[in-house]
Point group: C2
Chain length 323, copies 2
């Protein structure tokens, strides 16, 4: 008899859910609004709704489902099954998410943070498939991470592991959103790319985007990438530099963890080889030969589905372990 | 019936060996010269001699011993049981250390690299006892590391994990012995402390050690520490700076691994609080509160015995797993 699990990716705007079998095949997936203004209890009702909807769409019954996994934003106390704080969800402080969902559904429930869930998704069935160790870096407005060692997510002593965006690559350097100076995120996130671009323009560099940058108009990482593609010199230089800076952070991660695979995900991977080439070159130049031997650096393949798939995978793993 | 294991710490000059019981009690220990000039076969003979000597000193017979663990310098291929290269041991290239020792002794043999063995020693019975995750940093002429997750050493995909001295804390910065720029080792090792001190003197800084530094005389990290104790301003500043720089590296490690304990070992920990205070202050200022909650930063307690004790612990763990 096949085993089915439900994965839920809880976001500030939408809840994505899907049903997977034990071989990571997605039977069905869906997205509904989070309705965060309804507060934690209301949002947990929505999670239950999404789960029921998914099970129905898949042509299954609740009894066919072994467990549900929920990937949630914010800080999680894994032992207690509690979301300690989730900045993007109004009123989410010390929310007993695991118990709340388990009660509503009558199903074994596992919770995970969203970056870890995405990492586990890529490990289970995406670009990181079965690599050991596997490291995921999410490159978006911030830089997030997930680490899988021996097939298990590394949580650390208080569930705070894999904050890889806050690897210090240049002490005393650029100010990061976290308050520190010199974090990888302050150099290689989409936000940092735009900030570095604006600074270059302010210092007089020429670019087709110089005018909007100077007049306070919108400049995005996507816009910089498109300008680079169209031959804009500064944009190309900035994209290249982002890859090198990211490479420095990955070299530190490679020396610490000796991963078999580093998976890059998030919006910025849309830049493709323009980003990947300088990343790989920097690693080739700096990482120890023995560390490089097994190493692959690749792009994620699950896109926005990684979160719910990974949450489902965590649910499967947890129910297999406890069975 | 008690279980006994032998641990061997293979160094360029001496071979240390000891016999431990399954509760990490050291029954006896000894040290003999390595006689590296005899080449790999000769050195493996010496390892066997040290093991027999230890067993005899402990009043045991070979049949009482369950396994032997050998901590070796250099690069190790764990699957093959081979020392790929050991720069401090003449002729050590692709040496089948595990098979060589096992044949000589007729005992199950486990090999480990020396930094990992020391880390496991501190985890088994020293300052890192049973912490999860536990990270060891060895502060000497270089900066080495070891990582224990879930009670097991993290080897990584090719046995190259925990090269924590080559965490990049300042890209484009000081040149490291490894050829890269900006490594933690290039800032916070004993060698780097002396180099930074000499540079400060060259730039005109005053110190009781300025004269020997300028005239190319011997300046050591120990000498700088002693001068700092005696009130030398520059020496004190350099010691303090070393702690801060080390702190930057530890913050990156803490954000990646969320360790329960970071253990500092090696010659430099002789500086005690003068080193520890700025380390702890930097972590307190920069590490995320959730990561700090379970974190302890402490000095190693096993000193030079960590290597053979850890090697013995690895032997015990391995034989328990395979039994």
């Amino acid at each position: 008899m096949a085993t089915y699990v439900v994965g839920v990716d809880l976001g500030g705007t939408n809840i994505k859910a899907g049903v997977c079998d034990e071989r990571a095949q997605v039977l069905t997936k869906l997205s509904i609004t989070t309705e965060g203004q309804r507060g934690p209890e209301g949002v947990m009702d929505r999670i239950a709704e999404a789960t029921h909807l998914g099970i129905e769409q898949a042509g299954l019954r609740l009894a066919d489902v072994q467990a549900v996994g929920v990937g949630a934003p914010g800080t999680i106390d894994f032992d207690a099954g509690v979301v300690v704080i989730a900045p993007n969800l109004p009123g989410w402080e010390d929310v007993h998410l695991r118990a709340g969902v388990a009660e509503r559904l009558g199903l074994t429930t596992v919770i995970e943070n969203d970056a870890n869930a995405a990492a586990f998704g890529e490990y289970w069935t995406g670009a990181g498939a079965q690599a050991d160790p596997m490291v995921l870096l999410t490159l978006g407005t911030g830089v997030g991470g997930g680490i899988v060692v021996g097939g298990e997510l590394l949580h650390g002593a208080s569930g705070a592991a894999a904050e890889l965006g806050h690897t210090i690559i240049h002490f005393g350097g650029r100010r990061c959103g976290c308050g520190n100076r010199g974090c990888l995120e302050a150099y290689a996130s989409a936000t940092a790319l735009v900030a570095r671009f604006r600074e270059a323009v302010e210092q007089g560099a020429e670019s087709v985007l110089a005018e909007p940058a100077r007049s306070g108009g919108e400049v995005t990482s996507e816009g910089i990438y498109q300008a680079a593609l169209a031959g804009d010199e500064l944009s190309r230089k900035m994209m290249e530099e982002t890859g090198v800076l990211l490479g420095y952070g990955i070299v530190s991660i490679v020396h610490a963890l000796n991963p078999q695979r580093v998976v890059l995900s998030g919006g910025m991977i849309g830049a493709g080889e323009m980003l990947m080439e300088p990343v790989r070159r920097t690693i080739a130049e700096m990482a120890f030969p023995l560390s490089q031997r097994p190493l692959q650096v690749v792009f994620a393949t699950l896109g926005g589905d990684a979160g719910f798939i990974g949450a489902a995978g965590c649910a499967l793993q947890s129910s297999a372990t406890s069975a």
